[in-house]
Amino acid sequence: MPVLELRNVSKTYNNTTRALHDVSVTVEEGEFVSIIGPSGAGKSTLLRSVNRLVDATRGVVILDGQDITRVRGKELRRVRTKTGMIFQHYNLVNRLSVMENVLHGRLGHKSTFSGALGLYTEREKEQAFFILERLGLTEQAYKRCDELSGGQKQRVGIARALMQEPKLILCDEPIASLDPNASKIIMDYLRDINKTMKITCLLNLHQVDVAIKYSERIIGLTAGRVTYDGPAQKLDKKTIYEIYQSNEGELITDMKE
């Protein structure tokens, strides 16, 4: 059974901007999939329609065998706990400690009262510590998030997502604000999580070479339509130019040769 299935999803913002156009994508359990495409192609919109930060105008979103296109309230919260999200700008609560931010991943599982007051169980705290250890953040556990470097912040973001015990992790340009070194560390962690914990990963990436290196499968999105969907190895130059609607020599990846 696929973890995620989008059937003929379209999204139009404010009745004018057409961000997604009849997109159908299926992601199997344990896959590592990257979405590439030019700015404004609708990559973020696609990712956000999976956890319903954006509501599809038409089509059906099926997560873990359940049609979630129209779920609301309590049920929506429960569905959202199944997908962790990682953001380009980390989206942490900067004034709180690393530990508290990681524990935020449990909020969807908790009652309003204990969640609002930040009352976590011993088990949850132990689990948070375990995850922080795994991501090499033990020493930072009680630091405030605004004292961390970008790479460390993104690892906190990953820890928060893992804390949800998700089926699927969505990453919206996880390395776009990081230097090459930190980028590699983050991508390695994501791959490690995918391999050892069997969590499916769906990423938006701007770096084609990174996408090819790390993912098994690549989806090319151009102006709201899927223009490529296949193995990373089979993605040739010509297809890349088509996805980005540019001519040879115009892309920054061309400069290496």
């Binding site: 956890n51 930060l53 929506l76 919260r77 429960r78 569905v79 959202r80 706990t81 997908t83 962790g84 999200m85 953001f87 700008h89 980390y90 989206n91 942490l92 609560v93 900067n94 004034r95 709180l96 508290e100 935020h104 991943g105 909020l107 969807g108 599982h109 908790k110 309003t112 969640g115 609002a116 007051l117 930040g118 973001g157 928060r160 997502a161 949800q164």
Partner: protein, 267 residues
Amino acid sequence: MEKRRANEIQIFKKRKLVFTAAAAAVILLFWTASFVTQYDTLLGLSSFPRAFAWIIKSMVPNAKAIERLPNILKKLAETALLSVAVTVCSAICAFFFALLGSKTTKANPLLARVVRIVAAFFRNVPDVVWAMLLMFSFGQNVLTGFFAMFLTTFGLLTRTFIETIDEVSNDCVEALDAAGANYMQTVFQGILPSSIAEVITWVLFMIETNIRSSTLIGILTGTGIGYLFDLYYKRLDYPSASLVVLSIVVLVILLEIISGGIRKVIL
């Protein structure tokens, strides 16, 4: 390149022109205003030294005034505590109202608009005017002063808190939503921790402001330190009245120092 250069020069010329025009407008406005109100600048300036001398001569606190100090301090403490109570109460109300008015956390767009309008209304009527209006219902009473300051503080803080929440919470609200947190959890775990430092800064500032305005309101409502000032002033006991003013000034300065310290710790 040449064209761009010319363009830039053009912009500077334009700016200079605007500046000159603005300066001319201000001067013209001043002249007209002076003419209409028959205000004589020279006379105004020349009466300064005399007024100053009078203030110094008749307003320096004397022994009799010092005798009244305990009473003054008692009333001052009353006023200060009232200001703190008002400000804290209205800040709590304002924060929850601001949640409804903010772009990121509003429950519904119409309600958000209503909140903004109500806040603007409360804020734009001066607290002294509120005090005069409320006197009809509450009479000369501490409650009048309390509600008068409550309303303006509430209006002002609602608006600033809306701005703070908008600024601070976009990113973290999105992340907490994505993790399945509900509204209350997002507010207490995301928005409140992100904005608490700004909120406290504003509360401290409003406490200072309210101590100052409670003096004026007290004159109207016959309560607190304002009442004492009014009393001494009407009895022509200027030294005591000026001691009242001095004590307020000292208190406000003290508060500024304390809140400066608090701000350093929390930011």
